[in-house]
């Protein structure tokens, strides 16, 4: 374990540090020599074509996979050895399809955010307050007793965000969260993420809609097996990185708000 490094960590140290990471599925290389740091308070948008290794990079960052070469640290620990689940919130790619028929209420789903704090035993007053506050912040308090599977895509997204907020996570990771969500809800959803990021939550998300992510993110990383770009969204839009990463006939679909 590398816990001593965690306690000595400088507050401004990166939350995630990916160093010269390569990863392959069998013979197929997915990531080659990728290095990227995620500083506290960042809103990082990961973009890239289908099959560019975005989800894999996310899984490596969370320690769900181990790199073939290179290293990943998460909150100062080696990512796969990191064990303080309270600090991480994760929204999987297919949440709009998850558990359609499973009779789980909004409150039950948000309460799961407290499970890493309290796996057995009664919830404390602080636990309950965290759950209520989380539902309140994303505006789903009035849906608390509805079944998650019977909500719209946009409402369901907010349930999963609330689950991360209930755990009082420092890092929120989302894998293509707005697939299956209508355009209006998508804007609201990004606005919510922006607000949460402004209060200090570090956000990393994968997004196929480059227009919306460059509008709200504070940092863009463009990936296609290798890291083509890592930096300011405006700079990303004004350069031709996109064409290089995607091939020639790609352009940003502009969003006018």
């Amino acid at each position: 374990m590398t816990t001593e490094t965690a306690t000595e960590r400088h507050p401004a140290d990166p939350i995630i540090s990916v160093n010269e990471v390569s990863f392959r599925y069998g013979e197929r290389p997915v990531l080659e020599d990728v290095s990227i740091d995620v500083e506290p308070g960042t809103f990082l948008g990961l973009v890239g074509p289908n099959g560019s290794g975005k989800s894999t990079l996310l899984e490596l960052m969370l320690g769900l996979k181990r790199p073939d070469t290179g290293s990943v640290t998460l909150f100062g620990d080696r990512a796969h050895e990191f064990d303080d689940g309270k600090r991480v919130g994760y929204v999987a790619q297919n949440v709009t399809e998850t558990a359609r028929d499973m009779p789980v209420t909004v409150r039950e789903a948000v309460t799961m955010g407290r499970y890493p704090h309290r796996l057995v035993g009664r919830f404390s007053r602080a636990d309950r307050r965290a759950i209520e506050d989380a539902m309140d912040r994303v505006g789903i308090t009035d849906l608390a007793s509805r079944r998650v599977g019977r909500l719209s895509g946009g409402q369901r997204q907010r349930v999963f965000i609330a689950r991360a907020l209930a755990s009082e996570a420092d890092l929120l990771v989302l894998d293509e969260p707005t697939v299956g969500v209508d355009a209006e809800s998508r804007e609201e959803f990004y606005h919510l993420l922006h607000t949460l990021n402004a209060t200090g939550l570090t956000v990393i998300l994968i997004e196929h809609d480059i227009g919306v992510v460059t509008t709200y993110a504070t940092e863009i990383a463009c990936l296609n097996r290798r890291l083509y770009f890592d930096g300011d969204p405006d700079e990303f839009v004004s350069t031709d990185t996109l064409a290089a990463a995607y091939g020639t006939d790609q352009h940003v679909i502009h969003h006018d708000h």
Partner: protein
């Protein structure tokens, strides 16, 4: 020390079975004028069925909503191989193993093997489960025919279940399983729910997902083998699936769905055992048919408009209708997907 404790427990259980439960059932038999409730073997059958109807849906709820309920059928069929292994060893080496013991061992080992394979391959597939299911059953049938004479006797009881063969020891084991499985599920309820609902996120927040997935399949093995004697190898999976599907139609929350699934299973178990006695038909089959009947009624009633289901109220479906209306109010009458 352990022996003494087990002896005490067995004594306590016998006292409960005869002087508490037996006496209460005897009284019920007199009051209702239903003599079968007074027969000790029927009392044992009811208690056994009631226990099966608790642990089946309790574990089945997690399996069904993880969409791996096929695992219960698979483990039941490999448990049959376990029974055959026991009978084979007994006949060949003149041992006196309980076939249920070997069934427990084979089912638990298979459960863990399947889970380890899944951890490497990534997901359960119909194909791999079908291979294990038929493979287990095939090994069972080979061992039975390879065993010298007389052993085909009693195989029917394992295949189709039997109430007549439920001994005091069997009921004791089922009551113990009820407490044991119930206790484990209560202790591990939160991680089991999280893993069932969103396994990837559960891994991301370091919930020890592998441990709980293994626990889930081991519990399944324990439940199918415990219930096998009454339900039969072929039908036992129904007890983990049908009441859960019924409850999922109308439940207001996950906890509520577990409660409703157990209630639906209890109704089916008691109705099934009663029909089985009255008409002299198979208990396992009667219980499954009763469970499916409850499912069908709930499915139909919740599709009816609220006022129509009110008019349809009669003593036999009042409970289902009441549930259905609650849900229509609770979710604004959305169509089930």
């Amino acid at each position: 020390m352990l022996g003494w404790l087990l002896g005490e427990l067995a004594g306590l259980f016998e006292w409960f079975l005869e002087d508490v439960y037996g006496a209460a059932m005897g009284l019920l038999a007199e009051v209702l004028g239903v003599p079968m409730l007074g027969y000790p073997y029927m009392q044992r059958a009811y208690l056994a069925a009631v226990c099966v109807a608790v642990i089946g849906p309790l574990v089945g709820t997690f399996l069904v909503h993880r969409e791996i309920s096929m695992i219960s059928d698979t483990l039941a069929h490999t448990a049959f191989a376990g029974v055959a292994v026991g009978l084979f060893l007994n006949a060949t080496f003149e041992l006196s193993l309980s076939p249920l013991l070997t069934a427990f061992i084979v089912a638990v080992v298979t459960a863990l093997l399947v889970e380890l394979l899944v951890e490497h391959a990534g997901a359960y597939t119909d194909t791999s489960l079908a291979i294990v299911l038929t493979g287990g059953f095939a090994v069972g049938s080979i061992l039975i025919t390879a065993t010298d004479g007389g052993i085909a006797v009693g195989i029917d009881a394992y295949l189709f279940g039997s109430l007549a063969t439920v001994s005091k020891g069997d009921v004791g084991r089922l009551v113990f399983m009820c407490v044991f499985v119930g206790g484990l599920v209560t202790l591990a309820y939160r991680p089991l729910l999280y893993v069932t609902f969103d396994a990837t996120a559960a891994r991301a927040v370091r919930l020890g997902v592998r441990r709980y997935k293994r626990l889930m399949v081991v519990l399944t093995a324990l439940v199918v083998v415990s219930a096998m004697q009454i339900m039969g190898v072929i039908l036992v999976a129904a007890m983990l699936v049908v009441p859960v599907a019924t409850a999922a139609l109308v439940a207001r929350s996950f906890k509520h769905s577990i409660l409703l699934a157990i209630l639906a299973a209890e109704f089916a178990a008691i109705a099934g055992v009663t029909l089985s006695y009255v008409y002299g038909i198979a208990a396992g089959g009667s219980i499954v048919v009763a469970a499916i009947a409850v499912y069908t009624v709930v499915l139909i009633v919740r599709k009816l408009p609220a006022d129509a289901s009110l008019r349809a109220l009669n003593p036999s479906n009042r409970r289902q209708a009441g549930r259905s209306r609650d849900v229509l109010e609770a979710d604004g009458g959305d169509e089930q997907q």
